[in-house]
């Protein structure tokens, strides 16, 4: 009987410890943001936590931590007097929390952006929108890491390296609709190497090699541009809008951190 009680209390103790750990984790979810990251990326500016301006869609579980589809949807269309200037994505517990900052113009039509990111841990991802009046608002989502053998690294880096710099635009149909937002997808082939590794295994340094700048224009007018970092998946992918007023040229200019530059144009017509 005594043993039984002892065992029971031990079980409770274990359960208690586990619960305490979980509670701690829940309370700590925002700690990195509150204590470090907010100040680091936005200084003393005030950020309103609200879904009034944007919505963030992230999977509850990072099925493939190397390729987590994330999308941000703007609540209002872009207008010359009222538009979203920038959407910044921060992944709190990644080795480099800054994932990307996307810049839009009234010509973007809609400040929606979808991309694929790497997640290294259980973490919040935040999207912070800055409107043209300088106000900041934030939405966040929690993403669980997946189980199993996967890692936030491209599956076939050699293939990505072999076609590095190759790009494509994909439109929703063959033709664009004039004077309204058209969705387009930019595919960029790049290995996106984070540079993180256990050096004593490889006995050679594999420096970081990733896309750090993207500029997209239509007939010379900027639609979307971005600063990006190692959280971008291998073969970065971006989905966004533009408003064509006539036939013309979509152009992508991409740079990486090793100074390589790539560009690509594609003609679109109504």
């Amino acid at each position: 009987m005594k043993t039984k009680i002892y065992i029971k209390s031990f079980c409770f103790l274990l359960a208690g410890l586990m619960l305490a750990n979980m509670a701690l984790a829940a309370g700590e979810e925002d700690a990195a943001w509150n204590n470090v990251l907010k100040q680091k990326y936005f200084g003393d500016r005030s950020i309103d936590e609200s879904t009034a301006s944007i919505e963030l869609t992230a999977p509850y579980r990072a099925e493939d931590p190397a390729l987590v589809p994330i999308s941000v949807t703007a609540k209002k269309p872009q207008s010359p007097t009222d538009y979203i200037k920038t959407i910044t994505l921060i992944i709190d517990n990644n080795p480099v929390p800054f994932a990307a900052a996307f810049h839009f113009t009234p010509e973007s039509g809609k400040a929606d952006i979808a991309t694929r990111l790497r997640f290294n841990a259980y973490t919040n991802i935040r999207a912070i929108a800055e409107t043209n009046d300088g106000k900041l608002s934030m939405v966040k989502a929690f993403v669980k890491a997946s189980g199993g053998c996967s890692a936030p690294i491209g599956a076939d880096l050699e293939a990505a390296m072999a076609r590095m710099g190759k790009m494509k635009f994909k439109l929703e149909g063959d033709k664009v609709s004039l004077n309204q937002p058209n969705q387009t997808q930019l595919l960029v082939s790049h290995p996106s190497i984070s540079g993180m590794q256990m050096d004593q295994i490889s006995r050679q340094i594999k420096p970081a090699h990733f896309v750090n700048q993207v500029k997209v224009s239509f007939n010379g007018k900027p639609i979307m541009s971005a600063e990006t970092d190692i959280a971008l998946s291998t073969d970065p992918n971006f989905r966004f809008y533009f408003v064509p007023d006539k036939a013309g040229e979509l152009k992508a200019e991409v740079k990486d951190n090793q100074g390589k530059e790539f560009s690509y144009t594609q003609t679109v017509s109504p």
Binding site: I7, C11, E63, D64, S150, D156, E158, M198, I201, R239
Partner: protein, 306 residues
């Protein structure tokens, strides 16, 4: 009473995982070819990642270990099982690819006279994944690993390597990107046994961490090999070849064909992940844990096809 047992189980698994090497169940599937059958489960704190099929082949002069296990403790268990089976010394540890359930036992075999053999890309893949895997081992399995526990091959296979164990020859083949980008298969000449490790999944849904089209290509080549038996990385200890690859091939072809259609129709990765191939759910274990991730990996590959 039941609760009490569970509690004991938790207690023991938490505190004695590394202290005691459990006895390893092994089956001799062909003369001198021993396989331990894993379980269809995600690595966790109860199973310590000891989920894959692992084993060894005994020659007159040398034993070759094929995959060392999912934890240092399982590596030790495998080593003592080998010692209990044969007096022949262990000369080689062959790692079929980078995944933790196949390499975390390596440390148990590290000693003079033992060489570690892997695909030419294994070292780089291990180096890139180690920092992440280290953290994950703690998080998912409660396993504290050190940098030294990650052991890279000292002999690498560029395309083909013959290994003479004394009276039997192993043919090691380095494959193109398939299950991972560093898959190695082992063919035992003497018994015509084809040790495919994770190039072959049976029961456990295949996991694509390399290239979907590459995997199908490698399977085509492998099916031409005249083997009596094939040993999967996850599934029964041995099966008839090439029949053993039928279900896996069907699954991979289905994924390829459906995802190609989605891409052609301008659908997104998110849409594909939600919808593709759900009808195959009943055929596979751990489907919900890996199927969507397979779609993501395959989609990102196939959208570059044209």
């Amino acid at each position: 009473m039941f609760k009490r047992l569970i509690c004991f189980a938790v207690f023991f698994s938490a505190f004695t995982a590394f202290a005691m090497a459990e006895e390893l169940n092994l089956k001799e599937v062909a003369t001198g070819v021993f396989v331990h059958q894993g379980i269809h489960a995600l690595p966790d704190r109860q199973n310590h990642g000891e989920i894959a099929n692992i084993g060894f082949i005994v020659g007159d002069r040398c034993v070759a270990v094929i995959d060392s296990g999912g934890s240092p403790a399982q590596g030790l268990a495998l080593k003592s099982a080998i010692k209990a089976t044969t007096k022949t010394p262990i000369c080689h540890v062959i790692n079929t690819h980078v995944h933790p359930d196949h390499v975390y036992g390596n440390i148990a075999f590290k000693e003079p006279g033992v060489s570690f053999i892997g695909h030419r890309k294994l070292t780089q893949s291990l180096a890139a994944r180690a920092p992440y895997y280290l953290e994950k081992a703690g998080r998912d399995m409660g396993m504290t690993l050190k940098n030294e526990d990650f052991i890279a091959p000292d002999k690498s296979v560029d395309s083909i390597m013959e290994l003479d164990l004394g009276g039997r020859k192993l043919i090691l083949t380095a494959h193109g990107p398939a299950h991972t980008d560093n898959d190695l298969s082992v063919y035992d000449d003497k018994t015509q046994t084809l040790w495919l490790a994770d190039l072959l999944f049976m029961g456990h849904v295949p996991v694509i961490d390399g290239s979907l089209t590459g995997w199908l290509k490698e399977l085509e080549k492998l099916k031409k090999i005249e083997a009596r038996l094939a040993i999967p990385g996850h599934g029964p200890v041995a099966s008839e070849w090439p029949k053993a690859a039928e279900a896996e091939t069907r699954y991979l072809e289905m994924l390829r064909n459906e995802i190609r259609q989605y891409i052609k129709q301008g659908k997104t990765m998110e849409q594909a992940m939600a919808q593709v191939g759900q009808s195959a759910r009943g055929e596979w274990q751990l489907f919900d844990d890996f199927h969507k991730r397979n779609i993501a990996t395959a989609f990102a590959e196939l959208e570059w096809e044209d």
